[in-house]
């Protein structure tokens, strides 16, 4: 039976509606698969990066050893734990020595996330859940280059010899200490005592990492927080991370809702194709029945065909979808410094469910009608099955509504969308009916293409109104996207430009600049200008020392907390804006946010310690700074004369993408003294990518457009027999080919023109609403939409319509005499 059903279907392939059905199925499955897989990758990447942020669920950071009883308590509360001890120390190898940031960790480190390590220098790295073994050390590629050691070599840490086992690419839990400029190394905590590097007075950071059930963690938190002293902090994953997680979920719903339009269009194309399939098979099925095919057999035959179609379509759809998300990811890969994790196969179900629901909702009702046909209709061809397309389409819409609920995990948005579509549908039907009727009465007769074309529009009123609706919806969506693109992008990107710097180069000497410039240009790395930089610290404000102002550092603003990077400049840099005062005056220029945080204003005097020299300067200007610009920004800018005497290093900021990271690191190994600071927060990059999802929407729009084209093709096909007959008849009556062509152009052109116009009006209304209510910006008129809508409508719909009905032009008058 399978064989027989398959054979019947293969023989039927020539007719085209099975192919249309298949195409439509592929489009809906692949659209949804692309979206859900791509979002899945963002989600996975987000989860991994959140885990790497702390390398644990919670963390205690301390300036002194963590009390032993805390660890007992944590164990009692069944929390997993790990310890990390970090400090700056010299690492030696032969003659070479280098100050580095070394951390010693327990075997359980990291509790969350993973190390990235590699066996080759400056490589991308493989994840590792285990830290170095006893006796081993992992060095960052830069450190290994500076010490001139390779895997297997020995290095000296204090009084111990350790073997280099891996090159360290990423150190989980360290991403927050972005200002540690020294290159990194990791060792096992068991080796720490024998190195004897930690002596009383050395600056060491002790961390206790915890992971476990949320309730256990909360219990421990309420127990331990009162115990914390001055130098100890209880840390949770940053709230920002949670917000990004939310954004990802929202982006998925949004994209899937845009995708649903493609699914709806495909569904309609499927319904039309199966209607034609049923029409063509009515008599055939009746004949099969007279030959003894029982309803059971027929149900079997058609279900088998249905299942085969579903399998082929779903499989190809998943395949295309997998490729689609790959394309989007690689288009956006330039924005990431690491590659996105592979999508999980488990997410394919959404595409499969979409395909199944579409097939069941849009094809099944038709097929069932086919099976119900009375065999008597072979003897009395006038006997047709009753028409209840309304019921058929309602089943389809119930299916779509169900899908929307699955996508958005709720009922509100799908209900609103369905109602909106219904309202647009009614509106378009009324307008279309009026227009077609008017067009028909203005062009009565049948001697010109205009008359025949309008007559055709009016005669097939229902299918044409339907097409009008479909194309109005598609063009409208496209126009809305065009209209709000700029608002949308700025809203989504959250003021984060694509190429915010993710690396800084410090300690660059004047004579190195040229060479570094050459290699960044070569690798097309985006780089800011070079800024001279001297480090210094604020020691008093208006003559009062910081110590007396903020005893024990309580409430100390960031400006006083640490050593600052100072620069001089004659002019305001890019992205800087003067808010008050005079930039060229002989004094300090301060950034407004830090000024506000430290409660400083024009005229206040700051005293700085710069390399042992004490300088006092008044604040003479306040600037605002665009922190997301490509430039390194400075809290304080000093007059040139003050800093002239110091040997300045130069600093520049760069955006290094995933693709050019490796060659760039490699080229920088020629300048071992230059410090590279990676501030590329991957979470931030994910946010950037979400900002770029408007690009993905355009891809979804393309899918919708293809599906819409399928609808047009399918609906032209469903009237093809009729059209062929008319075409042949006109030819018999002496009409030239050009006349028929002209009538088709008029028919489809008018359809395109009206859908374009109605869509432009609808889009203008939508954009207005969005501007006023969502983006809260000034509403404006968009002449572009009014030009674009009809233009796109006419050109695309005429082209597709002529393509789908091209055989009408070729039909020989003989057609009337032969049964096709």
């Amino acid at each position: 039976m399978v064989n027989f059903a398959f054979k019947l279907m293969l023989r039927d392939l020539r007719s085209g509606d099975i192919l249309t059905l298949l195409m439509a199925l592929i489009i809906s499955v692949s659209t949804v698969t692309t979206i859900s897989l791509f979002i899945d990758r963002l989600q996975l990447s987000f989860e991994q990066e959140s885990a790497n942020l702390l390398a644990a669920d919670r963390l205690i950071r301390s300036d002194e050893e963590i009390p032993k009883n805390w660890q007992f308590k944590a164990k009692e509360m069944s929390l997993k734990q790990a310890k990390r001890t970090s400090f700056g120390t010299m690492i030696f190898s032969g003659d070479a020595l280098q100050l580095s940031q070394l951390s010693a960790v327990t075997d359980t480190y990291p509790l969350k996330g993973a190390y990235l390590v590699d066996d080759t220098l400056f490589a991308r790295g493989q994840p590792s859940k285990q830290p170095p073994k006893k006796g081993e050390v992992w060095l960052s590629s830069r450190l290994a280059s500076l010490l001139n050691v390779r895997i297997g070599d020995q290095v000296e840490v204090g009084e111990s010899q350790l073997t280099v086992a891996k090159y360290l690419v990423r150190d989980p839990g360290s991403s927050s200490s972005a200002f540690a400029i020294s290159p990194r190394a990791v060792m096992n905590i068991k080796d720490l005592p024998s190195t004897k590097v930690i002596i009383p007075g050395s600056r060491v950071r002790y961390s206790l990492l915890l992971a476990g059930e949320p309730s256990d963690l909360e219990n421990f938190e309420s127990w331990v927080v009162p115990e914390l002293n001055e130098g100890q902090r209880w840390r949770t994953p940053v709230e920002k991370g949670e917000r990004i997680g939310d954004t990802i979920v929202k982006a998925e719903s949004f994209l899937l809702l845009a995708g649903i339009l493609a699914v709806v269009m495909s569904g309609i194309a499927m319904a039309l194709a199966s209607t034609r399939f049923v029409k063509r098979h009515l008599v055939q099925v009746a004949v099969l029945k007279t030959l003894g095919a029982t309803p059971k057999v027929l149900i079997k035959v058609f279900s088998i065909q249905f299942v085969i179609l579903f399998f082929i379509g779903a499989l190809l759809g998943l395949f295309v979808g997998w490729g689609g998300q790959g394309v989007i990811s690689s288009l956006l890969s330039g924005l990431m410094s690491t590659s996105l994790p592979e999508p999980s196969v488990g997410r394919l179900w959404l595409g499969i469910v979409t395909g199944l629901i579409s097939m069941v909702a849009f094809c099944m009702p038709m097929m069932l009608r086919l099976i119900k046909i009375s065999p008597m209709s072979v003897l009395q061809p006038s006997r047709k099955i009753e028409k209840n397309s309304l019921a058929v389409y309602s089943i389809g819409f119930i299916g779509i509504y169900g899908l929307m609920c699955i996508y958005t995990k709720g009922f509100l948005l799908p209900s609103i969308m369905t109602l909106a579509m219904l309202a647009i549908g009614i509106l378009v039907s009324i307008v279309g009916w009026l227009v077609f009727k008017l067009g028909r009465s203005l062009t009565s007769g049948a001697t010109s293409g205009w008359q025949i074309g309008f007559a055709s529009l009016y005669r097939r009123l229902l299918p044409n109104l339907f097409q009008l609706l479909v194309f109005t919806l598609i063009i409208m969506l496209g126009l809305v996207l065009v209209g709000v693109k700029s608002s949308l992008v700025s809203e989504w990107q959250d003021q984060l430009p694509v190429d915010a710097p993710n690396h800084y180069l410090f300690n660059v000497q004047k004579d190195q600049i040229e060479q570094i410039n050459a290699s960044t240009e070569n690798l097309r790395v985006l780089r800011s200008d070079w800024y001279p930089m001297v480090r210094g610290r604020v020691i008093s404000v208006n003559g009062k020392s910081i110590q007396t102002l903020y005893p024990e550092g309580k409430g100390e603003p960031e400006l006083y907390e640490r050593e600052l990077n100072l620069t001089w400049s004659h002019s305001l840099g890019k992205g800087n804006k003067l808010l008050s005062g005079d930039f060229s005056a002989d004094g300090l220029s301060i950034e407004q946010r830090v000024a506000k945080a430290a409660n400083l204003s024009l005229g206040d005097t700051l005293t700085l310690n710069i390399g042992g020299n004490i300088v006092s300067l008044p604040i003479t200007s306040v600037r605002s700074v665009d922190w997301s610009s490509m430039q390194p920004n400075f809290y304080l800018i000093l007059p040139k004369r003050v800093l002239d005497g110091y040997s300045a290093n130069f600093v520049s900021s760069l955006f290094i993408s995933n693709t050019n990271a490796q060659p760039f690191y490699k080229s920088m190994s020629q300048h071992p003294t230059v410090s590279i600071l990676n501030v590329g927060d991957i979470l931030k990059q994910i946010q950037t990518i979400i900002g770029q999802l408007s690009e993905a929407i355009q891809l979804v729009l393309l899918c919708i457009l293809i599906a819409g084209a399928l609808v047009l093709i399918a609906s032209v096909r469903s009237t093809l027999e009729e059209r062929l007959e008319e075409g042949a008849l006109l030819r018999v009556l002496g009409a030239k080919k050009a006349l028929i062509q002209q009538s088709l152009v008029v028919e489809f052109g008018a359809l395109g023109l009206f859908s374009g116009l109605i869509a432009a009006a609808g889009a203008e209304a939508c954009v207005y609403a969005l501007q006023v209510f969502i983006f809260k910006s000034q509403a404006s008129w968009h002449p572009l939409l009014w030009a674009l809508g009809p233009l796109i409508g006419i050109s695309i719909i005429t082209a597709i319509g002529l393509f789908a009905s091209r055989i009408v032009l070729k039909v020989p008058p003989m057609h009337l005499l032969r049964d096709f």
């Binding site: 023989r11 030959l291 029982t294 072979v378 003897l379 009395q380």
Partner: protein
């Protein structure tokens, strides 16, 4: 050996609901047809011939009365069971051929056997097409055949399931005289060789004369001539 009854009809009436009200198409019909007989039904257009034929073949269910086909009454069977009986006993030939346009000639003829899952479907079909003189057009599609050729394929298809009763509704109605004659000849040849019962609606007197029995349908009543 007594000749079996192929079909027995008693008090058959058929009423349909049209939009103008109920319409009685068949008004109390009684016939008995023996195995191997050939019967011609003539009558004016709209008198109910096709309706009767359809009911006899179990394509539809009559309103009242009884039709017994080889000892089995149709009236209380559902479509599933009627289809099984059709597959076993009944063959059909139509005025407008009704070949499946997407299937080649040979595939059309194979259909009934394939529906039954017969492995030798192709061989049988080739043989039958050879008998109707179309062995050179096996792989042609219906729209590549003339009307007469299409009807010959239809005859081959009707005999492919070795039916006990063959129903034909104006089999020559769409054909010219010459082609009509060929069809009649082949139809009766196959009928003789397989011992089939033949019930045929026709306007063609020549064809009617060749049958054993003649009946006239007039306004829903059937009279034997």
């Amino acid at each position: 050996m007594a000749i079996r009854t192929a079909i027995k009809v008693s008090n058959l009436t058929h009423t349909v609901t049209a939009n103008t009200g109920d319409l009685t198409i068949l008004k109390g019909i009684n016939i008995e047809i023996k195995e191997g007989e050939s019967v011609a039904i003539v009558g004016s257009s709209g008198s109910g011939k096709s309706t009767l034929l359809g009911l006899l073949a179990g394509l539809d269910v009559n309103t009242s009365g009884e039709i017994v086909l080889y000892g089995q009454a149709f009236s209380n069977l559902d479509e599933e069971k009627r289809a099984i009986i059709r597959g076993e006993y009944v063959g059909f030939i139509f005025q407008s051929f009704h070949l499946l346009p997407s299937l080649q000639a040979i595939e059309n003829v194979m259909l009934p056997a394939e529906l039954k899952g017969d492995k030798d479907a192709r061989k049988k079909a080739e043989l039958l097409l050879d008998k109707v003189g179309l062995s050179h057009r096996l792989t042609h599609y219906p729209n590549q055949l003339s009307g007469g050729e299409q009807q010959r394929v239809a005859i081959a298809r009707a005999f492919a399931s070795s039916p006990k009763i063959l129903f034909a509704d104006e089999p020559t109605g769409n054909l010219d005289e010459l082609n009509g004659k060929i069809i009649i000849k082949q139809l009766f040849e196959l009928n003789k060789s397989q011992g089939t019962t033949l019930i045929m609606v026709t306007h063609d007197n020549e064809l009617a004369k060749k049958c054993d029995r003649h009946m006239v349908m007039s306004e829903g009543s059937l009279v034997e001539k």
